[in-house]
């Protein structure tokens, strides 16, 4: 067995970290627990593949990330999700004029009062932001977190979620336009 891996200490050293990592991305405690367990068990099967190029924690996190992407992909292909997505896409058409692409009358961006770099964000604004994030369709949220939080390369995201690169930009755009509109509606 590889010298750098210490499976006897895994739970004590990394379980809580991996658990928080999964919760932040899935927003589901039970699913997060299951994934932590699956990650350790999968890692045990792969110990011989560990080359010691990254730290033990980074290596375990990479295994967990792959499992999260699998869940994202499953989530975004369910029947119920397709309905949520269709509704969100419909809403998207309301933001821009169909003929010339201009903002429609009710959807033009207005200042929130948070545009200054040094502005301190209140707890209340954070609450609204969380609520708006949860309203995004699963696929959009997956693309958004993989890009903005985990800073994955675009190709990795497209391959993991099985989307084309053209579709990637459309999703990144739609997610942000929806999120911004939700903030405007619930904050101002």
């Amino acid at each position: 067995m590889n010298q750098q891996l210490k499976p006897h200490q895994w739970v004590a050293a990394h379980a809580d970290y991996l658990y928080s990592f999964a919760i932040a991305r899935l927003n589901d405690e039970e699913q997060a627990r299951d994934l932590v367990q699956e990650t350790f068990l999968a890692a045990l099967q792969k110990v011989s593949a560990f080359e010691g190029k990254s730290s033990e924690r980074t290596w375990l996190t990479a295994i967990l990330k792959n499992k999260i992407v699998d869940i994202y992909r499953k989530k975004s292909s369910g029947l119920k999700t397709t309905a949520v997505q269709a509704a969100a896409e419909q809403e998207q058409n309301d933001f821009f004029d169909e003929a010339n692409g201009h903002w429609t009358k009710s959807s033009g961006p207005k200042e929130f009062g948070i545009e200054d770099k040094d502005h301190l964000v209140s707890k209340e604004f954070e609450r609204v932001l969380k609520m708006c994030l949860q309203k995004l369709p699963a696929l959009w949220m997956s693309v958004f977190t993989m890009k903005h939080i985990d800073e994955e390369p675009t190709e990795t995201i497209c391959a993991g979620l099985k989307i084309s690169s053209g579709n990637f930009w459309v999703i990144i755009h739609r997610a942000k336009v929806s999120l911004r509109a939700c903030l405007q509606k619930n904050w101002i």
Binding site: P7, H8, A12, D16, S20, H148, K176
Partner: protein, 91 residues
């Protein structure tokens, strides 16, 4: 509609380019069209500022929640440790 007018009206395209610009290089034509659009469109100028701030805030939100650190309960951890030990003993 002429080319310039199309660029000036099209906020949908301009906001897509704003998103793209935050993480990739625009082509010369795209960069030109975006500059031209932003020059005349106060809505999209607000959008651009907000888009960057939203990215920052979402990042902060995830960062904070991982620092706060959700914790697994001890019973679950004990079980998990036992499963790992079992697996290790198999080999």
């Amino acid at each position: 509609m002429g080319y310039l007018k199309r660029v000036i009206y099209n906020c949908k395209k301009a906001t897509l380019l704003i998103e793209k610009q935050e993480m990739a290089r625009l082509t010369f034509k795209e960069a030109f069209e975006l500059r031209l659009h932003l020059f005349g469109c106060s809505f999209c100028r607000i959008y651009k500022k907000q888009s960057a701030v939203i990215n920052q805030m979402v990042r902060q939100l995830f960062h904070d929640s991982s620092l706060k650190g959700a914790k697994l309960d001890d019973a679950f951890k004990k079980d998990l440790q036992e499963r790992i030990e079992n697996e290790l003993n198999k080999n």
